[in-house]
């Protein structure tokens, strides 16, 4: 055993180094949050609870085409339609089993009318399974709750992919030359 190694062994050098590090981090600010009291805002484009969109007159946008249900990987969207007067489709029931949903956002991607959207809302625990069975009425009221004002359209358009510009590229794409060094580091 060399002298250096001997000294390192009897003085617990590597353990002391580790302890110094833990002691130092005791003095740095905490990275955790006191969750129910302090909430972290969801990032824009967060994939949370569903809402059915309403148009300007406050009517449901969905026409019952069934694309969302066909695309949904967990097959948790159920749509029941009937023929109304003047032979148009009437959406009688539009139901999402939220407990089976995987929040992939594919339903929004599939919808050709922008009639469904995922909201930023993610805290919806409850005591019964029925509370998670979203009916048409619940989904429409979600729109009023989470997409009040002008926010709606801009929000679900983020999910509406791909866009034409994705196939062509455009000015103003993110690139390295524009990276701002947020904190100066070595």
């Amino acid at each position: 055993m060399t002298t250096g190694k001997f000294i390192r062994t009897i003085f617990f050098v590597e353990i002391l180094k580790g302890l110094t590090l833990t002691f130092k981090s005791m003095l740095t600010p905490a990275v955790t949050r006191r969750y129910p009291k302090v909430k972290r805002p969801a990032k824009p484009g967060f994939r949370g609870l569903h809402a059915l969109a309403k148009n300007e007159e406050g009517k449901m946008k969905c026409v019952g085409c069934g694309l969302c249900g066909a695309y949904c990987p967990s097959q948790c969207i159920h749509i029941y339609t009937t023929e109304g007067e003047d032979h148009n489709k009437v959406v009688d029931r539009y139901e999402i089993e939220v407990l089976r949903c995987v929040y992939c956002g594919f339903c929004v991607e599939a919808c050709p009318f922008g009639a469904i959207s995922l909201s930023e809302h993610y805290e919806y625990s409850d005591y019964s399974r029925d509370a998670f069975y979203m009916t048409k009425e619940k989904l429409l009221s979600n729109w009023d709750k989470y997409f009040a004002g002008k926010k709606g359209e801009a929000y679900y358009r983020k999910f509406w992919r791909p866009q034409s510009e994705d196939f062509t590229g455009h000015e103003g794409q993110a690139k390295f030359e524009k990276v701002k060094k947020l904190k100066v580091k070595s």
Binding site: K43, P162, S164, F167, G169, Q173, L182
Partner: protein, 396 residues
């Protein structure tokens, strides 16, 4: 005093470790036959998390089966997604544009860091060190936040798409990622200060779970578990996909094939992953992020609103799926756990006739008896940690 002599009869003791055991990383059950502290026989039982992903994949179109791959190895879902879309693209015969490939490589390496960080935290926690676990989750949180910023989900991302990626990255994302990349090596130094030279850690891992290079190959090991034995095999180097042939990185190798060497290999891999991300940011080209292949990608949504032809196209692609060439395709990608392979048999319809997943964790779980038998029961924990299995992927 009268001397009483007794002869004790000893018997093997059978205990069941798991499926609810915090150190089995999920729902793995090991039946251990013990002679005192020594493991005589070890039998892994898998299947507690079986969801039939392969069968489910056969009932969905190639597009809609993507979220299933998130749920294989749920702590590195980004890598699974990248593996899945690469396999499907190979079957379709299309190629993603440059920018999309760079973005995919970048996010896949972020996934690798986040997976290895969890592995590091839980592996050392199993062996008794609590501090690195807490530090590891601090860094992982940064990556999760970045993923949320990127695509709106933290864990099961479903971000890459067949033919490209879901959306282009934003400048804020790039800023924050670059910031993370510059900072990360110092965080790695912190972990290494705590763990690498620690004598307790070394006593628990050096010379434990030794497997020679030849044996490792025969068992079909891949990834860090194989490279710990000194075999230079990395899918990213040997069959490059995305832009791995255009970024510089080393493949860290171990020598002895024990738990400690596998630890060093994965630590090295995290540093290399960081290097790859940095290069991807610096070289990121401008341009499209979706391939121009109208038969195989969903049409642009702004056109769907305006144009009847695109609308019809949207309906057909979503309900029936694309019309794909008949044939078989295998594509392996390097995920944090090892080589993840997707094998498709196509009969020309929009859904795969057969989808097979070659899951590294499944192969690695099979080597557990070889590593554990003859060792002590305490080392079983070290061995489970070192092969880095996730049961979601093992049971599929």
């Amino acid at each position: 005093m009268e001397h009483i002599e007794k002869t004790f009869e000893t018997r093997e003791l059978t205990i069941s470790m798991g499926p609810q055991h915090p150190a089995t990383h999920g729902v793995l059950r090991l039946v251990l036959n013990l002679d005192g502290e020594t493991v005589v026989r070890c039998t892994p039982y898998v299947g507690y998390l079986h969801r039939g992903v392969e069968k489910l994949g056969e009932n969905r179109t190639y597009f809609a089966a993507l979220p299933l791959s998130d749920r294989l190895d749920y702590i590195s879902s980004m890598n699974n997604n990248v593996g899945y879309v690469n396999a499907v693209e190979k079957l379709f015969g299309i190629e993603a544009p440059e920018r999309a490939k760079f973005i995919r490589t970048m996010v896949a390496e972020m996934g690798r860091i986040s997976s290895h960080i969890i592995w590091l935290g839980t592996h050392v926690l199993d062996i008794g060190a609590t501090t690195p676990f807490l530090y590891a989750f601090r860094e992982r949180e940064v990556i999760m936040d970045l993923f949320e910023m990127l695509c709106g989900a933290r864990l099961t991302v479903s971000y890459p798409r067949v033919g490209g990626v879901r959306n282009d990255i934003s400048q804020e994302f790039l800023d924050e990622l670059y910031d993370f990349v510059l900072d990360f090596p110092s965080k790695m130094d912190d972990y290494e200060t705590l763990v690498t030279e620690n004598r307790v850690w070394k006593n628990r891992t050096v010379g434990i779970g030794v497997i020679s290079a030849e044996e490792a190959i025969n068992w079909g090991l891949t990834g860090g578990t194989l490279r710990g034995s000194g075999v230079n095999y990395d899918v990213r180097k040997h069959a490059p996909y995305d832009v791995y042939d255009r970024v510089e990185f080393d493949v860290p190798l171990g020598k002895n094939g024990d738990c400690y060497d596998r630890y060093l290999v994965r630590i090295g891999e995290m540093r290399q992953a960081n290097r790859i991300i940095k290069q991807c940011i610096e070289k990121l080209p401008a341009g499209p992020v979706m391939a121009d292949a109208p038969k195989f990608t969903l049409p642009p949504k702004d056109m769907v609103l305006k144009d009847m032809e695109h609308l019809i196209h949207q309906f057909i692609l979503i309900t029936k799926g694309p019309t794909v060439p008949e044939g078989e395709v295998y594509m392996g990608t390097e995920v944090p756990k090892g080589e993840l392979g997707f094998y498709f048999v196509s009969d020309g319809t929009g859904k795969p006739y057969r989808m097979r997943v070659r899951a590294p964790s499944f192969v690695h779980a099979s080597v557990l008896p070889r590593l554990c038998e003859g060792g002590l029961i305490a080392d079983v924990i070290a061995n489970i940690g070192t092969i880095d299995i996730v049961l979601g992927e093992c049971d599929r």
